[in-house]
C-alpha cells in the first residue's frame, strides 16, 4: 500500500470517499426524480453563494459557506420555479437561465475579490483534493485535513436522514401525489433533501470542484439504477460506486500525476459507461442479445407455422416447401431459422430433394400448437374486438408468438372448433 500511495495521499483518498458517498446517495434521489439537472444548476449557482459568504466573513469558515450555499440553493430552486411558472419557460430552460446568470454573477464577484485574500477560483471549479491534507488539524490525537470537520458531519447527517426516513422518502420519490394524500409533507421532505444536497455539494466543492460534483451527483445513481430495480439496493450501490470512483480516481490520478478531481469524474463516467454496455438486464449488450433472440424465435415460429399450413393444405402429406423464402422471411434470418430447427430436429430435408423442407413428428406437434395460438387469437380478435375477417390475420400473425387469450372458441355443428375463417383450430397438446 505504501508503494501505491503515501500517507498524505491516503488521507486525501479517505476525504474523497467521505465527500463522494453522500453526494452519490443523495444524487440517486435526484436521478429517480429526474432532477439531475437541478443538481447541475445548484452546483453552478453555488459559486456566488460561496464567494458571498467568503467576502462577508473574510474567512473560509465552513459554517458561513454552508449558510451561503443554503441560501443560494433555495434561491436557485425558488427562482427557477418562479421563471417556469410565470414566464412559462420550459423547465430545463428556466433552470439554465437561473444558474447561468447566477454563475456569471459569481465569476464577476470572483474577479472583484481582492487578491490579498486567499481564494483560488480554480479550486472552486476544479477542486484541489491534492492540497486538502496541507491544512490539517488534530482531532483526538489524529491529524486529519481540516475540511473533514465539515465533510464528515454533513455526510453523516445526510446518510442518517436517508436511513431514518427511508420509507417516507421512497414514497415521496416514487409517488408524491399519494404521499401528499397520506399526509406526508412532500414539500418539506423535498426541501430537506435539496438542502442536504446543497450542503454536501458545498462541503465537497473544495475537494471535487463545483462542476465535477455534477458527475458524482448523477453518475453513481444512474449506474446503480441500471443494475437494480429496488431503491434500497440502488442507494447502497450508488454509495459503493461513488466510493469506488473516489478511490480508483485518486489512485489513478496519483499514478499518472494528473488532477484528482478530474480523474474521479472520469472514473464515475466510465463506470456508468461500462454499466450501460454490460449491465445484465438494462445493458446495451443484453438488450441487443434479447432482441436478436426474440427475432430468431419469431423467425423459427413463422417457418414452422408456414410448414404446418402447407401440410394442412395437402391434407397430411409432407414434403412441401421448396425453401425458406416461402415463409416470407428475409433470407438470412430464414436460413438461420431453418438451421436452428433442423438442429432441434423439428424439420428435416426432404430425402427426395435436398432443398425442400418438411416437418418431423416433433415439429408437427410444435407447429400445431403455434397455429392453434394463431387461430385462437383470430377468434378472440373477431369475437371480443369485433374486427372484420380481413383484418384478423396480420395482428394475429404478430400476437401468435405470445400468450394465448383465454377464449372458448366458437364450435360448429359437428362439434369441431373453427376460427372465423372456418379453418379448424388444432386441439391443444395432450
Amino acid at each position: 500500500m505504501s508503494e501505491l500511495v503515501s500517507l498524505t495521499e491516503l488521507k486525501n483518498i479517505v476525504a474523497g470517499v467521505c465527500v463522494a458517498v453522500p453526494i452519490g446517495v443523495l444524487g440517486s434521489f435526484l436521478v429517480l426524480r429526474r432532477m439531475s439537472l437541478l443538481g447541475d444548476a445548484i452546483s453552478h449557482a453555488l459559486l456566488p453563494g460561496i464567494i458571498g459568504a467568503f467576502v462577508l466573513t473574510g474567512t473560509r469558515d465552513p459554517i458561513a459557506m454552508l449558510c451561503g450555499a443554503l441560501v443560494i440553493g433555495l434561491v436557485t430552486v425558488g427562482l427557477s420555479s418562479c421563471v417556469k411558472r410565470y414566464a412559462r419557460v420550459p423547465e430545463d430552460a428556466s433552470l439554465g437561465v437561473v444558474f447561468s446568470v447566477l454563475f456569471a454573477l459569481g465569476v464577476v464577484m470572483l474577479s472583484l475579490v481582492p487578491r490579498g485574500l486567499d481564494f483560488d477560483p480554480d479550486c472552486v471549479l476544479f477542486g484541489q483534493l491534492e492540497f486538502l491534507a496541507m491544512d490539517s488539524v488534530q482531532v483526538m490525537g489524529v491529524s486529519m485535513p481540516r475540511a473533514m470537520l465539515s465533510i464528515v458531519p454533513v455526510g453523516v447527517l445526510s446518510l442518517a436522514f436517508v436511513i431514518a426516513l427511508y420509507p417516507r422518502l421512497k414514497l415521496v420519490t416514487f409517488d408524491p401525489a399519494l404521499a401528499g394524500a397520506l399526509g406526508v409533507p412532500v414539500a418539506l421532505y423535498s426541501g430537506i433533501m435539496l438542502t442536504l444536497t446543497s450542503a454536501t455539494v458545498v462541503t465537497g466543492f473544495q475537494s471535487v470542484g463545483s462542476v465535477l460534483v455534477v458527475a458524482l451527483l448523477a453518475a453513481p445513481g444512474a449506474t446503480a439504477q441500471l443494475l437494480t430495480d429496488r431503491l434500497s439496493r440502488m442507494l447502497v450501490l450508488s454509495g459503493c460506486f461513488a466510493a469506488s470512483s473516489a478511490v480508483i480516481g485518486c489512485v489513478l490520478a496519483i499514478q499518472l500525476n494528473v488532477s484528482n478531481a478530474g480523474m474521479i469524474a472520469v472514473v464515475a463516467g466510465s463506470q456508468f459507461a461500462i454499466a450501460i454496455v454490460f449491465a445484465p438486464r438494462q445493458g446495451l449488450v443484453s438488450r441487443t442479445l434479447a432482441r436478436v433472440r426474440l427475432a430468431a424465435r419469431i423467425a423459427r415460429e413463422d417457418l414452422l407455422a408456414t410448414l404446418y399450413r402447407a401440410w394442412e393444405l395437402r391434407q397430411g402429406r409432407r414434403s412441401d416447401l421448396p425453401d425458406v423464402s416461402i415463409a416470407g422471411l428475409p433470407s438470412a434470418r430464414g436460413s438461420l431459422a431453418a438451421w436452428q430447427l433442423r438442429r432441434a430436429s423439428l424439420i428435416e430435408n426432404d430425402p427426395a430433394s435436398t432443398l425442400a423442407l418438411r416437418l418431423t413428428d416433433a415439429g408437427l406437434t410444435e407447429a400445431r400448437e403455434l397455429v392453434r395460438r394463431h387461430r385462437l387469437w383470430e377468434t378472440y380478435l373477431s369475437s371480443n374486438l369485433g374486427l372484420p375477417p380481413d383484418h384478423l390475420h396480420e395482428p394475429s400473425h404478430r400476437l401468435e408468438h405470445f400468450a394465448v387469450p383465454d377464449v372458448v372458441p366458437a364450435r360448429d355443428e359437428a362439434g369441431r372448433a373453427t376460427d372465423p375463417h372456418g379453418r379448424e383450430i388444432p386441439a391443444p397438446r395432450a
Partner: protein, 326 residues
Amino acid sequence: MNELVRFITMQDGPNRTVAIGVGALGVACGMVGCFALLRRRALLGDAVAHASLPGICLAFMLIGERNLPLLLVGALVMGVVGASVIGLLHRATRVKDDALIAIVIGSFFGLGVVLLSVIQRGPSGNQAGIQGFIYGKAASMVRADAITISVVACVLVAMLFALFKELRLVTFDSDFARGLGRPVRALDGLILAIICVCTVIGLPAVGLLMVVALLIVPAATARCWTESLGTMVVLAGIIGGVTAIVGAGLSAVLPAAAGAGGSTWPTGPMIVLSAGSVFVVSALIAPRRGVIAGLVRHHRAKRQILARVRAERVGAGAGAGPGGAA
C-alpha cells in the same frame, strides 16, 4: 458613459473588432437558442460546451500552440460526441436524458480537467491559452477571430432563414412533419448540429461555463413578448446581439475593479449578466406572460369569480336561482 457609447457605436479599432465579434455571436446564438428552447434542448448546449473542453485540450496537445480554428475544431468534435452520446443512449436505454446530460457534463469536463493538468506540467508548460476557453476572453479577440465568428454566424443565420418553415414544423409538431414526409431525423440532427456549432464559436468569447446563457437567455426573454416563432427568432437575435455588445462594452469601459487586485471586469459574465437583467425586466413587465400581468389577471379572475358566487348565493337565497351552476 461616454466611453460605453463609443464602444457600442464601434468607434475605436480594437473595440470594434470585439464588438462585431460578440455582436454576431449574440445574434446567431439568440436565434438558434429559440429552437433549442422550444425543442426542450436548452441544456444540451451546456453539455456540448462542457464536453468541448477535452476536445480543446487534445487539439492543443496535438498542435502545441494556440491556433483558434483548430482548437475550435477539436471542441466541435468532442461537443458532437457528447451530444450524440446523450441522444443515442436516451433512445437505446432507460436512462433519462437529464441524468445523461449531467453525466456527460461532469465526466467530459472531468476528462478536460485531467488533460489540463497534463498540459500544465507538459513541455509547453502553459495553459493560459486554454484558460480563456473556460471563463471566456472576448477582449483578446483579434480581427481574424472576429471575422471567423461573424462568417460562421452569418452562415448559421442564413440556414435558419432558408429552412425556417421546415424547422418550425419539426419544432412544434414533429409527428405531423413525419406524416408530411419531411426528413424529421435529418432536420433534428441539423438543429443539433447548429446548436453545437453555435456553442463552439461562443467558447472563446464567453467561455464554456456560460455559453449556454447566450443560447437560452435571449430566447427565454423573447418568449415573454411574443407567441409567434418568427417574431421570437428575430427578437431573440436582436436581444442577443445588443446585450452581447453592451456587456462587452461594460466590461471594457468599467474602471478596473474596485478590488485591490485591480483585475478587470470579465467579458463573458458581463454579457450574461446584461442578458440576464433584460430577461428579469421582461419577465416582470411583459404584457401577457409577465409576472405582473399574471398577478393582475389572477386577481381579476378571483374578483370575478367571487362576484359571480355572491350573485348566485343571492339568487339561491331568493329561491329562484338555478344554484350551483358556476
